[in-house]
Every structure is written in C-alpha cells, then in structure tokens.
C-alpha cells in the first residue's frame, strides 16, 4: 500500500487542517459545540498518529541520510525551497510528538474555558513542531521554529495559571531573542555557502572549511547557541522554564517538556555539531561545564521546591544537561556511545517527563493545588495512581530496567572519556535526582492522608478509564524501551555511525589541544609503581 499524498507534508498540514476544522465546529448548544470540537481535534490527532506510525513503518533504518524527501520550489528568487525529509534523528521526535498530542488532548478533556480554541491551538502547535523536525531548508526550519511560539504563547497566556501573562511573555521573549540571533547566523551561512538547503549546506561546510574563518565560525556557533541553549534550556538560560511550566495548563507542560525542549538539542545535533565541528570543539569545554552545573544545580534546586510542578520543571533542566553533555562529548572521544546516550535521554525524557506532568495534572484537577506540603497518603484513595507515579518515578531516577537507565548510563559512560571531571560531577546527579523524586513521592503518595487530602477525599477517585488510557502507552514504553532499547537505537544507528564524518576534522585539531589520553601505553621503567603488585 502506498500513501497517495506526500507523507511528510501531510504530517505537517493535517494537524493544521484539523485546527481549522476544529475552529469551524459550530453548534447552537455551547456544550455540544465544545464536545464536537474536542472530538474533531482528537480524531485528527489520532489520524496524525497513525500517519506518523505509517511513516515510521516505511522508514528504512538501514539506509543512511534523509528519507521521504520532498522538494518543491518555494521562493526561487531568494533560493528558498520547500524541502522536507526525515532521518533517524528526527523520526523518533516526530513519533513522540504524534503520540503525545492525542494524550494531551485527552488530558484536556474537562477544559471548559473556550475549549474549541484551545484544541485548535494545540493542533496548530503539533503542525509547527512536525515542521521543525521535518524541514530541511533553513528558512523553512526557521519559519516553523518561530511559528511554534505563537500557539504555545496562546496556550500559556490564555489557559494558564494566575501569572500566565508574565510567564507567556517571558517564554516568548527569551526564545525569541535567541532565535533572532539564529536568523542572522542562517543568513550569514547562506552568504558564505550560497544555499539554505541543510544537507547541501552541511556538506559544503564540511568539504570546504575555508568558507569561514575560525572566528566567523565561532560567532555563528554562538548565535546558534543563543537559540538552542535557551530552548534546551541550559543553565543559566533556564529561568523561563519553571515559570512557563508552572503557569501552563497540563497539556502545555506536557508538550513543552516532552517535545519543545528537545528542539534545542535537535538544533545542536543538526546544525552546530555537523556544520561547525571546529567551533563546537572549541566551545565544548564550556558546554561541559554548563551541562555539569545544570545536572547538579537543577536537581538541588528541584529538591528545594514545594511546588510539585516546579520541581518537575527543574528536573527537566537537570536531565537536559545530560543531553548537552553527551552531544558535545560525542565528537571529542565520546563516540557513538555518547551520541546514543544523548538521543536516548532526549526520547526517554520526552516520555517520562510528559508522564510526570500528566500525573501532576491528575491531582491538580482533583485538588487544585500544587503545594507539596498539603499532600500526603494519596495511595489510600488512589492506589492505581500510586502505581503509575511509582513507575514514572523509577524511570525518572533511571532505574535499570526502565527506559531512563539506558540513556543515562550511555550518556555518562560515553561522555566520560571526553570530559572526565564534568561527567563525574554529572554522575552525582544520580544521587540528587533520586533525592527529589523520592521525596516528592514520599510526601505525595506515602504516609497517612494529610488533613487536606482527608478533607477532599470525596474528590479523589482513582484513575478512571480516560486517565488510564492516557497513561497506558507511557507505562508500557517505560519497561519496553528499558529492556529493548534497540527499538529506538536502531532507528538512529545509521546517522550515529555517520557521525564519523563530522568527527574527522575535529579529531585532528583536538588531538593537539584538549584530550589527554587516560591510558598511557606502558613503557617499562618510566611509570611509577603505584599500582604494582607487591613483589
């Protein structure tokens, strides 16, 4: 069976069409109208998920490079093409987006404030995110990158909490400042290489490093860095995230943590590292330091929170620190191990943090508070919920057997040769990560029900069908990807192996500058006998 339409274009514009359809839903009875709009949106998002699954099915992981490419002239006079394609790096993120969107819509089912517009915004967001991951023309990428801001701005600014406008503006401005600099860099690269075509541009820059002076490359790197570091977010550019998360509605937080943060890491991986290998290597030590700080600092700050949503927000900063560490370690000795690790953490964090925000949404919907000190003993009234949250907690603390472990282990093990000290510091994150997650679980779920919980016990039914359905795919993915991580790793194995291509020039430079090999070959008599056997 072949799909009659170009699959990637459909994947982007189907949700957009769905958003329009949802807006058009009209019924004299407001409740009925809301219900119809919700059903329409959910239906479209499910079809999108099926289509994404179809794309995944037809994707050939053994084949390197981009697949399902679509090329149409767009604005020929400016050299713009409508160029789409997926590879093993973008595909998992698109699948994740397609999976999380229907879950988010289901989680927003009880929304009463202008639901039609909310559901439409959400589908528009999905369209833009799909576009970001599928675009292979730099300007097209930029358009989707910026377009994504608008529905997200609306979702936080209209349907958010008390300080929603502050949070939405902060989110918008922070990311916007970064992306404007990226636009300058894109235009500069076009000036040098004469194309917006990402694969062609990457090849051109790789074949002809003389296109840019080292200084220019470093400036371009910093411009990209401004956009991606804010998006990830890396320490100390992260302060927009807790506010955005706390103020955003549950579904907004889910998609923000699950997918939008990955766009920053995706940018580093797609542009900074392969296009600017020398500049990346130049700034890598700096990034290692920021990443190690992010891992430990954010975990500690998460521990200091009493707002459960803020706690999970900071945990995202901590986990994403691991991603940036691994990605930049990859060409500097981390190799495939680090890259696999970084990609796995991205995917797994998308699953687990999405699940955690959904889980927090469940109790927020029942009790209307995020104050950890008010909770306690939820297990008495919500045993099924306790099970779901425990599964997600264990995945978040990277217990082996859950998906969290494989990514964390490979990232750290891979980064270690490139950045031993930063990695050792980041490894202590496993302590602090366990500290705040178990503290959260203990305070919320274990113990005897708090006075507050006891007072509202009538509002605390256990997970119903709709909620169980939301969590089911995530709860299945946690052990599945923990035991068979190959399901994900095989998707991106080809691009990971192709990393050698952008590693080659870097190594030549690095060998003289950065890396001190840990294992010094034995030279009889030259080394101290510190580790020797007693004779």
């Amino acid at each position: 069976m072949t799909f009659p339409l170009p699959p990637l274009t459909t994947l982007i514009f189907l949700p957009l069409l769905g958003a329009l359809l949802t807006l058009l839903v009209s019924h004299p009875n407001a409740a009925q109208q809301a219900y119809n709009a919700k059903r329409t949106a959910l239906f479209v998002s499910v079809v999108t998920l099926l289509l994404a699954a179809y794309v995944g099915w037809h994707f050939n992981p053994a084949q390197g490079g981009y697949q399902l490419m679509e090329r149409k002239p767009w604005v020929p006079s400016f050299g713009l093409t409508y160029l789409l394609g997926v590879d093993g790096i973008s595909l998992p993120l698109m699948l994740l987006t397609a999976l999380l969107t229907p879950l988010c819509l289901l989680a927003s089912w009880n929304l009463t404030d202008r639901p039609k517009y909310f559901f439409a915004s959400f589908l528009a967001l999905e369209a833009a995110v799909m576009g970001v991951f599928a675009a292979l023309d730099f300007i097209l990428f930029y358009v989707f990158w910026e377009a994504m801001l608008i529905p997200m701005f609306l979702i936080i600014g209209i349907w958010g909490g008390e300080k929603r406008v502050y949070a939405a503006l902060k989110f918008f401005l922070y990311t916007f400042v970064g992306s404007v600099l990226m636009l300058v860099a894109i235009l500069y690269l076009y000036a040098q290489a004469g194309t917006f075509d990402i694969p062609a541009l990457t090849a051109a820059l790789r074949e002809n490093p003389a296109l840019m002076s080292p200084l220019a490359a470093q400036l371009v790197f910093l411009a990209f860095f401004a956009a991606f570091a804010v998006k990830v977010p890396m320490w100390p550019f992260h302060t927009w995230l807790p506010d955005a998360h706390v103020q955003a509605p549950t579904a907004g937080s889910v998609i923000l943590a699950g997918v939008l943060l990955k766009m920053g890491a995706y940018g580093f991986l797609r542009f900074s590292l392969p296009m600017l290998p020398e500049a990346s290597a130049h700034f890598a030590p700096f990034i290692f330091v920021l990443s190690a700080i992010a891992v430990v600092y954010a975990a500690l700050v998460a521990y200091a929170q009493t707002d459960i949503k803020k706690m999970i927000a900071y945990s995202s900063v901590s986990h994403m620190g691991l991603v940036t560490l691994a990605l930049f370690a990859a060409p500097l000795g981390g190799g495939e191990t680090a890259l696999h690790g970084g990609l796995l953490v991205m995917l797994n964090h998308g699953i687990v943090s999405a699940g955690l925000f959904l889980a927090i949404g469940v109790v927020y919907e029942r009790l209307h508070t995020r104050d950890l000190t008010k909770f306690g003993g939820l297990v008495v009234y919500m045993p099924r919920y306790a099970f779901v949250l425990m599964t997600l907690t264990l995945a978040a603390v990277a217990l082996p057997g859950t998906n969290g472990f494989v990514g964390e282990f490979l990232s750290l093990a891979g980064s270690f040769p490139a950045a031993p000290v930063a990695t050792a510091v980041a490894t202590t994150g496993v302590i602090f990560g366990a500290l705040y997650m178990l503290w959260l679980y203990r305070k919320m779920v274990f113990g005897t029900p708090s006075a507050f919980v006891e007072k509202h016990k009538r509002d605390l039914p256990d997970l119903g069908w709709r909620e169980s359905l939301i969590f089911a795919p995530l709860i299945i993915l946690v052990p599945l990807l923990g035991i068979l991580p190959g399901l994900a790793m095989d998707m991106w194995r080809a691009p990971v192996e192709a990393m050698d291509m952008w590693r080659a020039p870097v190594e030549a430079m690095v060998a003289t500058e950065h890396v001190t090999p840990t294992v010094i070959p034995a030279q009889a008599g030259t080394q101290s006998d510190g580790g020797g056997v007693h004779e």
């Binding site: 636009l183 300058v184 495939e336 490894t427 030279q523 580790g531």
Partner: protein, 663 residues
C-alpha cells in the same frame, strides 16, 4: 542442563508477574473493611502467594541441582547468552547467565533463603491486608538478586544491583502509613545511590580502559596485558593515579554502600523498619552480601591493586569492631541483629582484603543460614509478643517458645563461632588468613577481628539470655497471650537451622582456592589462604577462647545478674553513650551532609536562581521596557509585538548588510 540456570533465574520473575496480573482482575464490589478481607481470605492473595512461593521454591530446587552437579557431578561452568540488551556501537551488553561455582553458590544461598522466607511470610504476614504486594516484591527481589549474581557483565550486574536496591526500598517502606518506615526506605535508597554514583564512575573508567564491561573481556585483557594495564594512569587533581586502582576503589565504594560498611552503613539499622522476613532475606542473607560477591567476582582485578585491598581490609576490620561495639547496647532485637550483620560483613571484607576470597564466600554462605535463622527466630518472638521488639520487655520466654528458643541458640552458637557450628569454620579461616597474610601486614586486622569475635559472642547471647532466660520484664498481658508460632513459621526455620549447624562442616571445601575452579583468582604474591594452614596454635584458638569467654560473660551479665549491666553503664558512661548512640555517625551526617544539602538547595533556589539569574533577566526586561517607553513617545501604536517585529527587521537588515560587506 545448560538452560537450568536460565529457568531458575526467570522463575521468580514469572511468579511475581503472575502475582501482579491478579491486580488486573476486577475486584467487583468495593471491599468494605479490612476485617472482612481477613476473614474471607481473598482468592487473589492466595493466587499471588501460590505463584510467587511456588516459583521460588522450585527455583531453590533447581539451584541445588545446578550447584550439586557443578560440585559433585563434575559439571563445568557454563555461559548462556540470552539477547543483546545494548548495542552501543563499539561495545555491547548481552543479557545472559554465567554459571560457575561463584554464581552457583549464590543461586543456592539466594534461592534457599528466599524460599524459606516466602513460606515463613505466609504465616508471618497472615494478618496484613496487602500481603499480595509483599509477595510480589519478595519474588521480584529474588529475581533481581539472581540477575546480579548470574550476570556475565557489569551492566547486567548493575541492573540486578539497582533492582535489589529498589525492592529493598519498597519492602523497607512496605508499611507506608508509617512515617519512620518511609524515612528509612528513602534513606536506604539515597545512601546506596551515593555509593552507586562512585561505582558508576568506576564502571566508566573500566569501560574506557578495556572497551568492554564483560567480565570475560576484562579478565582476558588483565591476563594478557598485565604490565601495561598496571602502569596505566589517570590524572586526578594534578596527580597521576593508577587507573586500575582508582576503578577498583570506586567499585569498592559502591560495594560499601550495598554491604553497609562503615561510613555507608547508616541505612541498614534503619532498614529494620521493614517486616522481619524482609530483614532476614534482604538485610542479612542476600542483598547486603552483594558487595562481597562482587569483589570476589572481580578478584582478577583486585589482585592487581594491592593498595586497594589494604583499604578493603582496614574498612572491613573497622566495620567489624564498630558494629560489634554498637550491637552491645542496642535494645531493639532486630537492630542488634542488624549490627551483627554489619559486623559479619566486615569480616567478609577483611577476608577479601587479605586475598582470602574463598574464606569470604564461605563465610557469606554460612552467615546466610545462621543470620537468616536468627532473624526469622526474632520474627517468631516478635510475632508471639505482638510486635514487641525491645529485649528489655522480654525474658523467660524459653518455656513459651521452646522451639524458637532452640533455633536462637543454634543460630547464636554459629554466629559466635563455636565448633562444630557453621560460623566457626568460616570465621576461623578468615582470622587465620588475616594473621598469616604475607608480610604480616594484616595482623592488626586479626587482633581487631579476634576482639570483635568476643563482642559478637556477648551481644549474640545477650539477645538469647535477655529474651528467653530469667524473669519476664514486660507487660504481663502480652505474656499471657504469647504462644509458640505455628508450623508455617517454624517449618521454614528448620532448613536454616540445619544449615547453621552443618553448613560449615559440609561446605568446608569452599575454603580452598581449588574448589572454586578458577572462578576466583589469587595472585601467588598474597596467598594468605594457603599460609593459614600453618597458623600458630595460639592465634588459631585465641578467637575461640574469647568467644567462649564472651558467652560466659553474657550469661553472667544478662541471665544471672541483670543489674550489673546497668551499673556498668553508669560507670562507663562515655563509652556506653558512644555505643548506644552508634558512634554518633547519624548525627554527624545530619550536621555535615543532610542539613547543608538542604540549606544549599534552598539557597541556590532563592539567591542564585530567583534573585541572581532571574533578577538579571527581569532587570534586562525592565530596562528594555523603559527604553521602549522612551521610544514610544514617537510612536502612535503601542503593541509589544510590533516593536519586536521591528527589532527582527533590524536584525535581518544588519544580517544582509554583513553579507554584503563580507561577501
């Protein structure tokens, strides 16, 4: 035959999964009250108990089959690969089962004790409404422990390692309505995580050095490139340290956490918050010995790092004496046994420190039997006394609990190292090896160990005499209700009692290197084990003499003249306070680690994150706003977005300009 290990490892998992499936069975009408559930034994609970207990008992039978066929049947070590877990490009991790004498011994220890504990729990947890969950956790634990010991590589080992850790966490906090249980569970997990972080770095070092984390690859390279690997160095804070030593030390820190060695032991006594069968299985016989097992498994590595072995020996000796002194004064019967476990693990570690790995494994095995017996005996007492755990509210129970009394005697004799009970053989071998370690460097360790042996006898029999001899000291109402436990509780203690009596004698070949058939490697430079045969008589019999004196002293102090200890405590006030307060380690950590971490976390959030970084951000935003307001004078419209569209246009213009200039 080659698949027996696979089957026996997977059985507990299947049992646990089958038990967990009962949760999917709709419960129908909501259970009105716990009392009704107790009266009408829930069919789901029965199914879960049957699947878990049945599968573990079967696993125990298979474990003995594998073990005996390896030992007596002349079978060879086997290695089965299941499937590739991780393919990270240049290196892979494959799930599998490596079955040699080392893992087969652990199969027997783990599956046997686990089977006994499962059966015991049917009686002990009879009144608990959520016992189904309890059995599922127990079986899951057994599976994780078997994965740990059967692992052919360090990553699968780590899966088991963390798996037993999380099961321990869930079981310590099993009674999650108790705040103290939740605190203890979390403490156990976090302290172990501290150790695990060190171990992870050790694993990364090994991976970097060997390019693999499979035991076979590592040991092969250690054998082939010994000199080169021993000279490999890693820069650390400006010094160059031996890579192998650093890795070995870090992995030992990991083992210290799981095996509750001094410094990272604080979680183990608190873990007694869990139900007593858990203490017997996890916190006495199996999980806490994982560190000992791991170091034995890595003997080819540790043999090349003698400096680390010295540290292991000293840490072990310190733990042995520390825990023994604390055990003297605790009043909670389970805590005394917990400190005893800690102390005995110290013995195992200093055995490893003097390269007497076989002695460590031998003691691990005998200890599993007698310590599990002691815990289950203590559980029987607690069960009979309606959850009374303070030995100062017991006394004279030997007439009420005669069978338990005998079991406690047997366990304590084995613990004290009195021949021909199990502990004698293994502890004796450890002390002799320490005495005879080449160069005599470990003789201080021997003296510490001998002294600890006396203290062991004192605190061991303190429990027996306080609880079972003399006059009853507690609430008369409790005593009138006290009764010997039913056979579902006493029955599973019998195999363990048999082990406590006979294991030392029957398994004594374990104390020789040859028995292990290459699973353990000892460099001929530090073969203390062989030298132990030539121990002078005074060193050989001194510990035994001390232990007998200890028992006599215990009788005198805790059965005959019970008022003397109180006087001693007031005379020796300071040593008594130190012992009673567990050397103030918890207080020290609270002051030096726990509180500072909490303060630092809060401080980072308030001053760095909110006022520092966000202060700058908001400041920049305010400045922009003011500038914007100034500019606004010239504008007619005032929508923020318009301004930003213009900023963007400006930047684009600048970019184009740059293009023209540079291009």
């Amino acid at each position: 035959m080659t698949h027996l290990p696979t089957i026996l490892i997977l059985l507990p998992l299947l049992g646990a999964l089958a038990g967990a499936l009962t949760y999917l069975w709709p419960t129908g009408a909501k259970r009105r009250s716990n009392i009704r559930t107790l009266e009408h034994s829930n069919i789901r609970d029965t199914i879960a108990m049957a699947t878990t207990t049945g599968s573990v008992v079967l696993a125990a039978v298979l474990a003995w089959t594998v073990f005996l066929s390896l030992w007596l049947g002349g079978g060879a070590a086997s290695h089965v690969d299941w499937f590739t877990w991780l393919n990270a490009g240049p290196w892979q991790v494959t799930f599998g089962a490596l079955t040699d004498k080392l893992s087969a011994t652990m199969y027997v220890v783990v599956a046997t004790v686990s089977a006994c504990v499962h059966v015991y729990s049917i009686g002990y947890m009879h009144e608990d409404a959520s016992r189904r969950r309890f059995f599922i956790y127990l079986s899951a634990f057994t599976f994780a422990m078997l994965m740990l010991v059967s692992a052919p590589n360090l990553v699968q080992m780590f899966l088991g390692w963390e798996g037993v850790g999380v099961c321990s966490y869930l079981l310590i906090g099993f009674w999650h309505h108790k705040e103290s249980a939740n605190a203890a569970a979390m403490k156990a997990f976090i302290v172990n995580r501290v150790a695990d972080a060190a171990m992870l770095v050790g694993l990364f070092l090994l991976l970097q050095t060997f390019g693999s984390l499979t035991y076979g690859d590592i040991f092969g390279q250690l054998g082939a490139n010994t000199a080169a690997l021993m000279n490999a160095v890693t820069p650390l804070f400006g010094y160059e340290v031996s890579t192998l030593s650093l890795a070995a030390l870090l992995i030992f820190v990991g083992a210290m956490g799981k095996s509750a060695q001094f410094g990272l032991h604080t979680w183990l006594p608190d873990a007694m918050e869990g139900p007593t069968p858990v203490s017997a299985l996890i916190h006495a016989a199996t999980m806490v010995t994982a560190g000992v097992f791991l170091l034995c498994r890595l003997s080819p590595l540790y043999e090349l790092t003698p400096d680390v072995l010295h540290i292991v020996a000293y840490v072990g000796a310190l733990t042995a004496i520390f825990a023994a002194t604390v055990g003297l004064t605790q009043t909670d019967i389970k805590r005394v046994i917990a400190y005893s476990t800690c102390s005995q693990l110290g013995y195992m570690f200093f055995a490893i420190g003097v390269s007497a790995y076989p002695a460590a494994m031998f003691h691990l095995t005998t200890h599993a039997f007698f310590k599990a017996l002691l815990f289950l005996g203590a559980g029987s007492v607690i069960h009979a006394m309606h959850h009374e755990q303070n030995i100062f509210r017991m006394g004279g129970l030997k007439t009420v609990l005669p069978i338990t009394y005998v079991c406690m005697w047997l366990g304590s004799l084995a613990l004290a190292g009195i021949p021909p009970f199990a502990g004698f053989f293994s502890k004796d071998l450890i002390l002799e090896s320490a005495f005879m370690a080449p160069g005599g460097w470990a003789q201080p360790v021997y003296y510490v160990g001998a002294l600890a042996a006396m203290l062991t006898a004192i605190y061991g029999f303190r429990i027996v005499f306080m609880a079972f001899e003399g006059a009853f000291m507690g609430d008369e109402k409790v005593r009138s209700h006290a009764h010997e436990s039913p056979w579902v509780i006493l029955g599973p203690m019998m195999p363990l009692a048999a082990g406590a009596v006979l294991a030392g004698l029957l398994l004594s070949p374990m104390g020789t290197l040859e028995w292990w058939q290459g699973a353990i490697v000892i460099s001929h430079h530090h073969d203390a084990l062989h030298a132990a045969h030539h121990t002078p008589a005074y060193a050989k019999y001194a510990p035994l003499l001390l232990a007998i004196c200890g028992i006599a002293a215990a009788w005198y102090l805790f059965a005959e003249y019970r008022n003397i200890p109180r006087k001693l405590a007031s005379v020796l006030a300071i040593p008594y306070a130190i012992s009673l307060n567990k050397w103030y380690v918890d207080e020290l950590y609270d002051l030096a680690v726990v509180r500072p971490t909490r303060v630092l976390a809060g401080w980072l959030y308030r001053f760095v994150d909110q006022e520092g970084i966000d202060g700058l951000v908001n400041g920049a935003a305010d400045a922009t706003k003011q500038a914007g307001q100034a500019l606004r004078q010239t504008q007619t419209g005032h929508v923020a977005h318009y301004a930003f569209a213009m900023v963007m246009a400006l930047v684009v213009g600048l970019g184009l300009l740059l293009w023209r200039v540079m291009g």
